[in-house]
Symmetry: D2
Subunit: 98 residues, 4 copies
């Protein structure tokens, strides 16, 4: 299991870009992958290759809505020494040590 953060920003498509982010999120919703929308990106958990396949569709989405330049950031946290590596387990492991 991997945890991946993605943020998608069209350039030259206006100061506010939330409609493009919403369009990309619709591709993610269709995939059925578990995700969390945050103020600075979207965090997804699951099989890494399936996540990257969907992120590629998300990256393409703003172009389909008229953008001509898109900056996409993908941050992969791929941990293979533990059974559980999820959105919830990552937050819990910090909160319980606060």
């Amino acid at each position: 299991m991997a945890v991946v953060e993605v943020s998608i920003t069209p350039l030259g498509a206006g100061i506010g870009v939330s409609r493009f982010v919403a369009g990309a999120l619709r591709r993610l919703k269709e995939s059925g992958l578990h995700y969390q929308l945050t103020p600075m990106g979207t965090v997804i958990e699951g099989d890494l290759d399936e996540i990257l396949r969907v992120v590629r569709l998300m990256h393409e989405s703003p172009f389909n809505e008229g953008a001509q330049r898109v900056s996409t950031q993908i941050k992969i946290d791929d941990r293979r020494d533990v059974e559980t590596h999820t959105l919830a387990s990552k937050v819990r492991s910090v909160e319980e040590k606060l």
Copy 2:
């Protein structure tokens, strides 16, 4: 108002780093700034210079706990054309377009 995402990762300090992240978050809690812990970082809202001052303390925290190399990522979203630019308004502006 700015929205800033910060993630702090000590290198060579073990595979699991949540205790270091918790230590850095304690510096943030002491500051009184409004923040949200996510699976891939911590998002903070407020005055940019105050946030950067606190993030500098957060970056130092793992060194105080024995780390010898720290990778810190800071992502600033500084928007000055609107009155409201917060953690909640950024998420709401996407969700209402889904």
Copy 3:
């Protein structure tokens, strides 16, 4: 054409990680894609899907060398309104305006 920056960091595999970065770069060299090694990552130009295919191999490389957790960051700059969007053209377009 896209320009992509990738940085690969194994966690819990020592303070110095250059041997893992070198291993990942060997995958990139084998691909024949044009790239530039920088102090904070590696920048690649070419077809986006070919780049992402190779980056996936680069991400896997530290695991093949014993790492158990890898943080990989991928930053895509995908621009479709111009004929030329390369490592050289991006640097030149800034330098000529200095």
Copy 4:
């Protein structure tokens, strides 16, 4: 010594942003800090607090040139277990292992 990568992107200020990047780089040139312009950002070496002071000026630069929203990314690699941690030493430590 720290090595820091910074990238500055105004949103809603056109598809091409090199004039804003050049403006920010002029602030960096004035500082005298040693840096390298790359296709995806600018890498700086030196005292961390001095670098962060200058990066704050760089972040402000696009606003002084009419931008209304700026996304700035700062990636700090702060290593304290070695005498030499520079742009050149980081690249060399990878290249010699290729």
